[in-house]
Symmetry: C2
Subunit: 714 residues, 2 copies
């Protein structure tokens, strides 16, 4: 009978008995502690390092000593010999630190598994909730070493590789996981075409890239541990790409570009119209986005390589220096060793793409016509997997493009990504997600039910179609405050700290007003009693700032001396109307969802998108842009769509999750709501004529005179 | 409680009780009788017709009358109203004949299910065993009718279609089969691109083509019942294509062409060499075969349409006339109705391809180099599914190309197809399959074990490299007989009945000798004692036909007056040597397999390929081309590889079967057999110096003087 030994693993405290001769890595797995390994237990990757704790551990009644492990193997000794700096920095010596794939149990042991060696890695996403993403990518790499074919064993290249892969995958992933048998693996056709050559050049030692535990999509000579993927949010205005290391979860480059389709139409409706009107309209829109994606990919690889090179220069021993000898060894010393700091486009093996339904359709070269015509129907909701080569995206030709599901014509894959990032479907509370742009998408609900809708908000919220509106760029006003008594304003400008009233250098600096400042300005005009609850300028005020301008009544925020454009910058009656229409649309949409869910107000409001991050939530509530809610329950989460794309890139299980969730989301089209027009008209007032706003009631002017406001005060 | 009624189905005799209101088709299914339906029970396809038998059936104790079914529905009446000829021809009246999807059970019934309405169709393959192919194609069509989208139900096109497809598939296939849910269906990207347009043009009534019960690969407006596929055998010399109706299993066109790669090399080795030597060699070989396949496809469609048109002209009421109104009705009367007799290339949704390993690799644009260099390794054994568009084959762009598995470098997908057609893996007896060409592949075994090998046989068996050899074309000698006493020959010529000695018109007709006649001639030379068992001409014979010619000793079969080439046609010593080498190679290969299987002789020999069909099996055995076996256990089965491809095309389960079988076939490389050289030398003699040939012993000359032959006579 095989001898048993007591093993204790720290810091988890897991313990149990294992057979003599078991490797430490296998023993840990038996006891429920996953230890990393990329090289399929070849003493090559060093990811599985563990520390032997020596001494008498009374608590456990064991004596732990390094002699209770098999002696250091030649491969293991060679691995550590190449890393003197690592040992010195950590203060470790060989024998105390071991490769757990090599060291075999010969007696009782207490073993410490350092953080970096633990499997099932996670990364913390820096957003509202600091949520954790578990790294379970669709793309994984395995080192496969094969016996070369002989006349006696002339099995084909693919089957030889598949058998080796079965073995490597089982070693890396553990035999308890349900993994495919060799004959269940598939190989992408483009990859198959180079297989014979690669295997022979590599002398039958290769790194195999596997997609979704079933399809081989790349075979590289020698040992390569990193896999790359890109998450992309295709906005109507901006395309943002995050290049990620799929092993660690790190974002190694972020790039963004204007969406080139803007030349064919500023918003989605005008692009749909362009595709309808022009015979080659769709083709042009499609090619424009594909070539921008290719450009971003190229830029991202360049950025990533620059930063990798920088790291390599700063700490040669720790990164480049540590990688090269491994490659050298595995690649049989003959091949040119490619330094770590030079990744290539072809090493990007997967992309996850999100975007609104129009961007989604155009990306896929699906005609967006029916998205824009009643009854507003997308071609497909379901998520899709398409080969990069089918879309002409210049990553690995066998690479996979995963596209998140759409929910409705105007609730697209970007909203699916926001849901995935914020997880309303896992909450007991009712959350309201609002992604504000030219179009706003709203999702409301909890683990039991999610409802969604969308509404056009017009360009005002983004600073467009506002007399002096502009994007949030240097020179743009971003915050506005108006003194209730003097009716004098003060403002902040993008890129400069503090209020203009505190800085002489503000003079001659202002260029225009960005979206967040427009919200502020309108809210302040209302709060200061300059406009009434219907949005009309009061004319009998003791200030020269309210005046009849060229296009009607207006309030001057900046005199021409303060600007770089040599003209006064006012908020006009027209501007106020634009904001009223936008906020009425958004508010009515939110109200409709609340009503359909039998809720008075949401427990939490999450504002997604860049715009949501810039606005002052109190002012947004004051003008009635968002429904009433406790102010500290209103969160801005930035580009949650991009976050969602990244989550789907890093964790394949999340793809099923969002597919399932979106299948159940209920969609409401606002125009089909019988009360819509009525509600909309009521919602144009400040804050909203028929709604109580307890959380901002103290800001509402003349509240004592206002019978409704009085109610709020009780 | 629901009322129950007694139902009896003829001719199966199945009986049982079913609920009141069940449709006859569902009732039959409950009782285990499958009735066809293509239109998803829409009263459109008429495939589910049944006959009501009226009267008192004492044996079953029931009264059966047509009133015990729901009355004829409007749709049903309309269906029959369009087919007066059908009713007249069959002598049926409406009410007696019913569409079983429409008629509901209201009382006891005896129902007759005519042959043509029965599901799970089979076809009989006309070959050695007249084996049956069950029709279970990967490609199936379903009529899907959808409710158009509305503002209230704006679900996407794909999901709408998938839900409809789930319903239709369940209706057609029965709820007991494990069929996918709507969200498990996939759609090919090329097909998705046209989906929105097709659905709207079709007014939401479409025929959906599904591959492998999971992927939608075509959506056609209106109702279409036929599906097409092509089975192709890519030989080194000839490419043969069979265009099949996938619903009925019929071959609707057969086409063949010379393999255009012949210009780059006559045999596989020279083509491999060409691919190695020329930088664009593989590309040229690949493009040549792809363009030939496209040409054959085009020809086949033309041929099929011609024959469909011919049928349509002969019986307008029964074919074209019967189809058009249906299309018209379903396509809402607006679309141009396409007559049945005009199928298109894009309606071919699947191809199954087989070929030797070199043809296989070149087809896939995989470099064949390692097939030709030791240790002779293919790139892949496993069967493959590739989109037609990836290979540039001009069928439906979403169509699937299925390629059967290879077994070894010189035992290719054609041999897999032969195994699939002949099924040695289902036998208790040990069968020896020999596919003879420039290269011969051999498979031996039974349900427990299959072994295989291959051997080059040289071109002699195909009539090449023989002094007056030629292919089996008009003017080629195909049979030879030599009189033992006079040593005078007689022969038969391709395209003419009877022996030359019986026909004056033979004079001046002969051009050369084809493969089968060379076997005959050598066998007859041996039997008549003109050559000895070592193949050497005996020089002291009393005939002028044996003489010393320009290139050594020879036997004149045809004097120059008998030929159209104005020269004597002899069999030379060199020709005899060629045959000896070829047959020794083949025989040694067979002997090696028998030895490895511990068998003395096979229970049955199956000769596949054109050559096998032409040779005289007794003569083949006499010269030792094939091992000894009872003569009536030697079968020629023609193009079994083509048959196998067709089986895989018509029955998807067969694809898994052959994948599993080929994974287990054991391969032997002859040169690795230590006795190979020795065995080969022994095998050059006639019939074989160390082997008993009891079944042809009586033909061996001087058998009384020969001690071994004597043994055979006991």
């Amino acid at each position: 009978m095989t001898k048993k030994h007591n093993i204790i693993l720290q810091p988890s405290g897991r313990r149990g008995q294992v057979d003599e001769g078991t490797s430490v890595r296998s023993a840990a797995r038996e006891l429920g502690v996953e230890i990393e390994s990329i090289c399929a237990e070849n003493a090559t990757c060093g990811k599985c390092m563990v520390l032997v704790e020596e001494g008498r551990f009374e608590k456990y009644n064991i004596d732990s000593k390094r002699e209770n492990l098999s002696s250091v193997s030649n491969e293991e000794a060679a691995y550590f010999a190449r890393r003197p700096k690592l040992l010195k920095d950590k203060g470790w010596e060989v024998g105390q630190v071991r490769l757990s794939c090599q060291a075999k149990i010969r007696g009782d042991m207490l073993i410490n598994v350092p953080e970096e060696s633990r499997g099932n890695k996670q990364i913390v996403r820096k957003s509202a909730g600091n949520r954790v993403i578990e790294i379970k990518p669709a793309i994984r790499k395995y080192l496969v070493s094969m016996t070369p074919p002989t006349l006696e064993r002339p099995i084909a290249d693919w089957e030889r590789l598949a058998k080796g892969l079965e073995t490597s995958m089982a070693l890396v992933r553990g035999t308890e996981e349900k993994l495919p048998r060799w004959y269940d693996f598939e190989i992408d056709y483009a990859c198959l075409r180079t297989l014979a050559k690669t295997l022979r050049e590599a002398k039958w030692n290769v790194t195999v890239t596997v997609w979704n535990d079933k399809e081989v999509i790349a075979v590289q000579a020698g040992y390569h541990e990193e896999s790359y993927g890109a998450a992309v949010d295709i906005g109507s205005t901006t395309v943002a790409l995050y290049l990620c290391n799929l092993r660690t979860g790190e974002v190694i480059a972020s790039e963004s570009e204007m969406n080139p389709q803007i030349v064919y139409g500023e918003d989605v409706m005008s692009r749909i119209q362009y595709a309808i009107d022009q015979p080659d309209g769709l083709e042009k829109l499609h090619k424009a986005i594909i070539s921008t994606l290719n450009k971003l990919l190229k830029q991202a690889v360049k950025t990533a390589n620059m930063s990798l090179r920088a790291t390599a220069t700063l700490a040669p021993d720790a990164s480049a220096g540590e990688q090269s000898p491994i490659n050298e060894e595995i690649a049989s010393g003959e091949e040119q060793v490619r330094p770590r700091n030079d990744m290539k486009l072809e090493e990007i093996h997967e992309m996850v793409l999100v975007g609104n339904s129009t961007m989604h359709h155009v990306l896929l070269n699906l005609h967006p016509k029916d998205l824009g015509l009643a009854p507003f129907v997308p071609t497909i909701h379901k998520s899709m997997d398409i080969k990069a080569r089918e879309l002409g995206l210049h990553i690995s030709p066998s690479g996979n493009i995963h596209i998140l599901p759409t929910i409705a014509s105007f609730v697209g894959a970007d909203t699916s990504a926001v849901i995935l990032a914020e997880e309303p479907h896992k909450q007991d509370e009712n959350w309201l997600l609002i992604d504000i742009g030219t179009n706003a998408e709203l999702v409301l609900g909890n683990r039991k039910r999610l409802v969604c809708t969308s509404t056009p908000t017009g360009p005002a919220l983004e600073g467009a179609h506002v007399e002096y509106g502009m994007r949030a760029a240097p020179g743009a006003m971003e915050r506005v405050h108006i003194d209730e008594t003097t009716l004098e304003p003060k403002y902040k400008v993008v890129g400069v700290d503090g209020w203009n009233t505190d800085h002489a250098e503000f003079i001659g600096h202002v260029k225009g007003i960005c979206g967040s400042a427009i919200i502020d300005a309108v809210a302040e005009l209302f709060r200061a009693g300059i406009i009434d609850s219907r949005g009309k300028f009061k004319k009998e005020l003791s200030t020269t700032r309210v005046r009849e301008g060229e296009s009607g009544w207006e309030y001057v925020i900046a005199w021409k001396e303060e600007t770089s454009i040599g003209r006064d910058i006012p908020i006009t009656q027209q501007d106020v109307r634009q904001i009223q229409l936008a906020k009425a649309a958004l508010f009515t949409a939110a109200r409709t969802l609340l009503k359909r869910s039998n809720l008075q107000s949401p427990d939490k409001i999450i504002l997604a998108g860049g715009f949501g991050s810039y606005i002052d939530k109190e002012k947004a509530m004051l003008i009635g842009l968002i429904p009433d809610c406790e102010l500290d329950k209103v969160y801005a989460v930035g580009n949650a769509a991009g976050d969602g794309a990244r989550i789907a890139l890093l964790n394949i299980e999340k793809r099923n999750e969002i597919d399932t969730v979106t299948r159940k989301v209920e969609r409401f089209e606002l125009p089909t709501d019988p009360e819509f027009q009525n509600q909309f008209m009521l919602a144009t007032s400040f804050p909203h004529m028929s709604e109580p706003f307890p959380h901002i009631a103290h800001l509402i002017p003349n509240r004592k005179a206002d019978p409704m406001a009085k109610n709020f005060m009780k």
